[in-house]
Symmetry: D2
């Protein structure tokens, strides 16, 4: 069995990959590391894991936390993975990092990102950046393979926006200056740490826009779209939070370069994503919502054309904790370990 280690095992992203790996036929979780709830089985803190994963969560200082693994998930915030990666690589591991640390594979691009989000612009391990690849297999399949050492797992909003816009950008369907990403997320995207704004009584009947000055995922959206367009793209991006737990709905707008029908665009999207198992394309008449991707690694994309204003409008749905996080991580893991991409994803979501 392939051995997995999860650093940051106590957050939603860490528990998410634990849940997925418990049924993976080729991988066995060997080590859980975190800075909270240490010293107890993870199933004490997350009782639903009882009998599925009862490993004790180790503090980073525990020698057993340093045991080598074949694959290490860094389910950690910005700035952690870049410090731990070299040592794990030296022990033979491949790394999948959830943060922005390895989403940009040269130090200048990283510095630009870091300055945009108000962080120190110097990367702690710049020599590793060329080893990393942005973990969106639907765009970078040619470069994600058994030789890959580090995956920069994408941000949740970014997955929904990039998958929703990539074919339109690649095929130059829309003008590059016209792009607006209006994104709504469920609350689990904010993580497990309690805060007034996510306290049930203050959230159950409330929706709002936030971070209007700029969300940390904009940069990677623009970076990936610019690579596809082969020109510099800037987007208007609005992050909004609505009272559900799981789900992102990103409504994406762009002005059409020429008269094009919904059917034409559906065909372009289907062709673009032809061999990708986790993207589904729907016409505008479909009754698709976040509940249809909940608990799954799918991205459902609804295509519509507003003929009166010559705009393309894409609605992109994902589960922020699966395709937006742990699911993408396992999908990337499968590929870089040489396993079939869908291994371990053999179940539909739970409904309702």
């Amino acid at each position: 069995m392939i051995k997995a280690k999860i650093v940051g095992a106590g957050g939603f992203g860490g528990v998410g990959i634990v849940e997925l790996l418990t049924t993976h036929p080729e991988v066995e979780i060997k080590t859980l590391v975190a800075i909270e709830s240490v010293g107890n089985p993870i199933s004490d803190t997350y009782p639903h894991l009882k009998g599925f994963c009862d490993l004790v969560i180790l503090p980073p200082s525990d020698p057993a936390a340093q045991e080598p693994a074949d694959i290490v998930f860094m389910a950690t915030p910005d700035g952690v993975g870049m410090k731990l990666a070299a040592e794990e690589l030296a022990k033979g591991a491949k790394i999948i990092d959830y943060s922005g640390d390895f989403r940009f594979n040269d130090k200048e691009t990283y510095a630009n990102y870091a300055s945009r989000i108000g962080k120190p612009t110097e990367h702690a391990a710049p020599e590793l950046l060329p080893l990393s690849i942005y973990g969106l297999p639907e765009l970078h399949r040619n470069n994600i393979n058994k030789k890959t050492k580090i995956i920069g797992n994408p941000g949740c909003f970014a997955v929904s926006c990039i998958l929703g816009l990539a074919p339109a950008i690649k095929e130059k369907l829309i003008t590059t200056k016209s792009i607006i990403c209006d994104c709504k997320t469920g609350i689990s995207g904010a993580g497990k740490k309690p805060a007034a704004t996510f306290h049930y009584p203050l959230r159950y009947e409330n929706m709002n826009a936030y971070k209007l000055a700029g969300h940390q995922h904009i940069y990677e959206v623009e970076h990936e779209l610019s690579l596809l367009a082969e020109e510099d793209i800037k987007v208007t991006f609005t992050s909004q939070v609505v009272p559900l737990c799981r789900g992102i709905m990103s409504t994406l707008y762009g002005t059409l370069n020429s008269k094009t029908t919904e059917n034409d665009i559906i065909n372009i999207y289907k062709k673009f994503y032809g061999n990708n198992g986790f993207v589904r394309i729907y016409p505008s008449s479909s009754a698709i919502g976040t509940q249809h991707v909940r608990g799954t690694n799918y991205c459902n994309i609804v295509i519509s054309v507003d003929e009166r204003t010559s705009r393309l409008r894409i609605v992109s749905y994902i589960d922020n904790l699966v395709k937006g996080q742990a699911g993408s991580a396992m999908q990337n893991m499968n590929i870089i370990l040489g396993l079939p991409e869908k291994t371990g994803f053999d179940r539909p979501g739970m409904y309702p």
Copy 2:
């Protein structure tokens, strides 16, 4: 006391105006008419009204349903008010109609609207259209007054979009071809009739876009904005439903005609709405959400400028059942009866 009649008293919009009028110091509800739950006190069907309004709901066929009133609320769908209005007017009433029947005051405009939503283009009472005014006092204060006979109460999405965009359009801040209205509504906007898509288990953890082919409120948004701009405006409009009960959050985008700061725009908005008691303007750093307008007649407007893309972004918040329906109706009523506009609106919302 001024006598009020409510036709369509059994829906959310009818109950909403009953709730508001129970505490209005100058108006007394005298007659409730509906086609469901007839023959019983409204407080049997809506027990929270017990002791506040215990009038029996009359069927339209009951002679008592024809008693004259000073003000008649037509809390009814398209096509009903236009048939009943003439008779009520003849008995001396003023009319506030919730539907699209009187939102356009000439028959050609009505016909355009009707054809857009797939209804017969002929109005049942075209001679009454010139008596009607679009019931958004913040824009039409000069024309809504004691002489007004009929108010076409605006649509909920329309209120949020028009109030959010009017100053920008009027002051030519944004290009008229660039407008996008990305609108999210709570579920009460769909009314009280059960349907699969609003069945709790299918809705609690679900959000989705709907009516991508065109929502019935687009036309009045475009009509009002075109009047302000003195040119023909078309917008891209997306209706989306999210799992909360009350609240609309409309995120409105337009390309700036020239470099303008957030502060400049805040000042323009504050000046535009200076004398209007139900609009509040906030900077982009504010933590405002739908919960802050819930149960109230306020429209909270957050201003932001995306300098990187030269776009104005407005987030407009209302309670769809108050400022988006019954509250606007009572506000209009106050004005056309010659009462202070805020009469009966003397309480804050309930929190949390």
Copy 3:
């Protein structure tokens, strides 16, 4: 105008009484005191109060916080009111305390209560206890009047249980050893402080029993029921939390002393509560839920008899933040100020 001061103005209970008093015709809020968000208008922290109450929240150390008032609400946890009461009384105020500090009017009973909840058994102001009355007017109307100096406002669960059981106990319908209170509360009962267990993602699809070892409200339930029964009563009490914001549903069980019909019991309850404006009695066939009391000061009581097991079953519904807290406080205030009991309660709840 009567002058009111609110200590602990920043919590749900403090905001609740602010909301209610903004529309009270005889009372004016003059002073807000709290230990958080001080120095800013309360409407900065609670934007829905903008224009209704914009007083600055003062820290206790501010001299203006010591201004005399006619009525002081201590919306504070156990142990605060008992320390502040004497000084406010000396300045001529009457006091309504939300905590357990004044729910028991002799020091022995207080000591028993305190020991049950693991607090120091000595009261900080035992000389004031004889001045206080348990603030449930439906039971203590004869003793709550213009001479009353201190009200011990009842606990939310206690209100629902005591009102649900009082007539049955008083009329000796059920055996005193058989009483079970199965209570479910919305989350606002836990206050505004964020905690993991009330974090939206961990609560939206979760219900659970808690404090199985003993809830702090049991003692006052038993104390009040024992007074009515003129014998010592012990109950089994289960506190449970379910994913809604406002509302308590207490299902109360007792073994009938003799064969009695639902109708008999309805009549007994109606007679018992005859002159009390905030209690409504319903038969078992009624479709009553917490939504029918939300935002109101009512207690709705549904009566049923399980003939097969000779048990009385009462379901008692309140809004925990109104009849369970701020509403009872204002009701008590009205009585001890000599105002009609329903003053300021002239509106139905909001629906839906």
Copy 4:
């Protein structure tokens, strides 16, 4: 592969078993039958099944609906399974029926049940009743085996109550006249048919008791408990609905026959359920809620003793759609097909 047919495939119970069987290693779904959405792939109506189960739903009149299967799930309401069972048995199938049709294996008991719920007392296939077994393996393991022809799958409330009370009854810990079942369910228990009482706006902030005159599951609770006690047991049973989707929390009360500690009772329960893989026992200090069983086949049971009143209090948690329905069905299927009981249950629930 073992061939499965699902009759009533379009409801929550039908979709639930489809979801579970898609990952079952030994069983293949071959036939879906229903009376709604017929003629289309089930994944058109339930898009989350796309790629997992795309079989067309057949109407009962379709000859293909009569194809033989090894196991037939009757995910149908009372009165359907009893009419279809004989024919399926004749074709060699085993049957798992979700309704009350086969929960009582003689015609007199069935008649008693039917009369209690106001249905015709005559069973349509009384000759089949002796072939059926009540499908709670934790109690009837000795009688559920490869020879079993028909399983009467238990009701959701019944599972939670019976599992919570069985050891206490069997070991005579509590007096048989003292039992109260206070049960709360999520809304999915009501099925997928929209109704006013489950319309999101009327349910999101509402909880209530219902069917106070008697719920259809009481009879089987009493029947099973009476078998265990070897005497006639009657319980007081209260059904309540709270605003979440999945989950039952049943709080169960009984007067202790003698002084017993929580630890003693935990040991008794653990011994009783020793070999049963889907029951977990917790002390009263545990922080267990419905979220910990959501999406799983587990029943979590929390034990507490109220020493002051000498009462045992059990809180029993299940997912009403899994252990309360489709999960129990698959567990029963595994046993009667001779497969390991946990086959196909190899994943934890999704969290949060």
